[in-house]
Amino acid sequence: MAGNTSTLHGRAAKAVAGKSGPHGSNTPLRYLLIGIALAFLLLFLFMPLASIFAEAFRKGAGAYFESFDDPAAIHAIKLTLIVAAISVPLNAVFGLAGSWAIAKYEFKGKSFLTTLIDLPFAVSPVIAGLIYILMFGAHGWFGPWLNQHDIQIVFAVPGIVLATLFVTFPFVARELIPVMQAQGNDEEYAALTLGASGWQTFRLVTLPNVKWPLFYGVILCNARAMGEFGAVSVVSGHIREMTNTMPLHVEILYNEYNFVAAFATASALALVALFTLALKSFIEWRAASAQKFREGERLPDNTPLHQTS
């Protein structure tokens, strides 16, 4: 359910429709409301963010950078990147296929299917991990068979990838479905009448039209894939230099009272999050201005038509 109403589609459309300019008088009430809002944000948003960096640099920059000079840390970074590199493209491909099937055709059970796609957002990350243990764990459905064939899924990288796939499953699809639905099929139909094949239509017409929401979904998916803790924690087994992703590494360091290293690793993840937010704002701005450009002013009909006879 993350970002249920904060899809790019909604945000960009609102940016166009949104009211501009200040209104209402400069009443004390207004300043009071702004003041309370800012105080709340300071307390609940900015203070935690600042504390990550403050704790990380508590013993100076030297200690900070030393934290990354540890084979376990380097391995955790590598594993995190690998997991994201596998799960993000897979979910992006699914997102494209799923949104095409759902947005471009009419069929029964469409809204049910859309709800099913959102399902992982409603499931606790811990349960997302649990289900793969029940499937592939030693006592799971496929446990004995996997054991016989010496295949390790749970407490190994494949399990981490699967759990990550589950929790990041809806991100791309839910960005693309409303956009594709809003754009309708006319451009695709036009391409077909002009002789384009289905694949050409998708590649030349549909894909360029959804590139920003696709990118938006991908960066959100990536942020979650790199930061997922609960689900991955359950399936990883916490084996150092084997199945520890960065968030798990943070946990281990923290539990060992190695606070500087824990917060240093956490700060790297926080930077990824901040970078994601910056990109996200940039895309929203791009999409809004593109939309304004497309739908905003329509130029007057100023080219005269010559009646040739």
Partner: protein
């Protein structure tokens, strides 16, 4: 040019399978969607139900509703509810301020509201713990007042407030943007005071969205794990949330116990998802588009 258009004997209506079927690619994309959805989501989720189906009723009740588990549910739902309530109040305020007022840094703050979505939960968890532990920025100060936050239900609630905030703000923002300023002006010309306008004109307009945001924050809160485990202290019967109990049971190889709790949580999540879907439909009807 000739034409003929006489009505012939009525034919049995046949359902055309799907509109726009001339657009190629339905079968492969739908096939892939269903297959991928089944492999990653549906089949794995079904394990919870099948595993529980293998238990006797007594076993299920014992595993899913023992005193320790009941305490965990109570804590989980109580803190999630409280956090969602706090978010409903401050999220509404924040959404209102962000939509209606212009002030320096507004765009930055608007972007930062999504931080809890983007920040890994474990990172949020240790950061909040650092702030609220005995020698943290807030903790040391609150300690003097005799309030203990870290390792208490208050700490859990604070973590869930952090996690749930964007849900309320992002649900309300578009609805507040939709409200016509003329509506308020009209009410004002009719002699309504500020409080009356808020209560009688504005609040009913965004109430469905507020409820949706509340439900989303609540749903997220009951499943939350990463940001809570660090600040909660994890004491059985006192600060042990249900997701943590699942992990604990798994670590003790008590698969049945873990699965029973998971089933209860899943069923509640599904109902919440259903309720949220209905709420969103209601909300979008309210603001006048589907």
């Amino acid at each position: 040019m000739t034409q003929h258009a006489t009505a012939t004997a009525p034919k049995t209506p046949r359902r055309s399978k799907k509109r726009g079927s001339v657009l190629p690619g339905f079968t492969p994309t739908m096939g892939f969607t269903i297959a991928y959805l089944s492999l990653i989501v549906l089949i794995p989720l079904s394990t919870v139900f099948l595993k529980t189906a293998g238990m006797s009723w007594a076993e299920f009740v014992e595993a899913g509703f023992s005193t320790r588990v009941l305490a965990a549910y109570k804590l989980t739902f109580g803190t999630a509810f409280l956090a969602a309530l706090v978010n409903a109040v401050f999220g509404l305020l924040l959404a209102w301020v962000l939509v209606r007022y212009r002030f320096p840094g507004r765009r930055l703050i608007d972007g930062m509201v999504d931080l809890p979505f983007a920040l890994p939960t474990a990172v949020a968890g240790i950061a909040l713990t650092a702030i609220y532990s005995r020698n943290g920025w807030m903790g040391s100060w609150l300690e003097d007042l005799g309030i203990k936050v870290a390792y208490t239900p208050i700490g859990i609630t604070i973590a869930l407030i952090f996690i749930g905030l964007p849900f309320v703000v992002r649900t309300l923002q578009p609805v507040i943007e939709e409200i016509d300023v003329e509506l308020e002006e009209a009410a004002a010309t009719l002699g309504a005071g500020r409080w009356t306008i808020f209560r009688k004109v504005l609040f009913p307009t965004f109430f469905p969205a507020l409820l949706t945001g509340f439900a989303l924050a609540f749903a997220r809160g009951i499943g939350e794990y990463g940001s809570v485990v660090f600040i909660s202290g994890n004491m059985p019967m006192r600060t042990e949330i249900a997701p943590l109990l699942i992990v604990t049971k798994l670590e003790q190889y008590d698969y049945m116990g873990a699965t029973a709790i998971a089933l209860v949580m899943l069923v509640i999540s599904f109902f919440l998802l259903l309720a949220i879907n209905l709420l969103q439909r209601w909300s979008s009807q309210r603001i006048g588009h589907s």
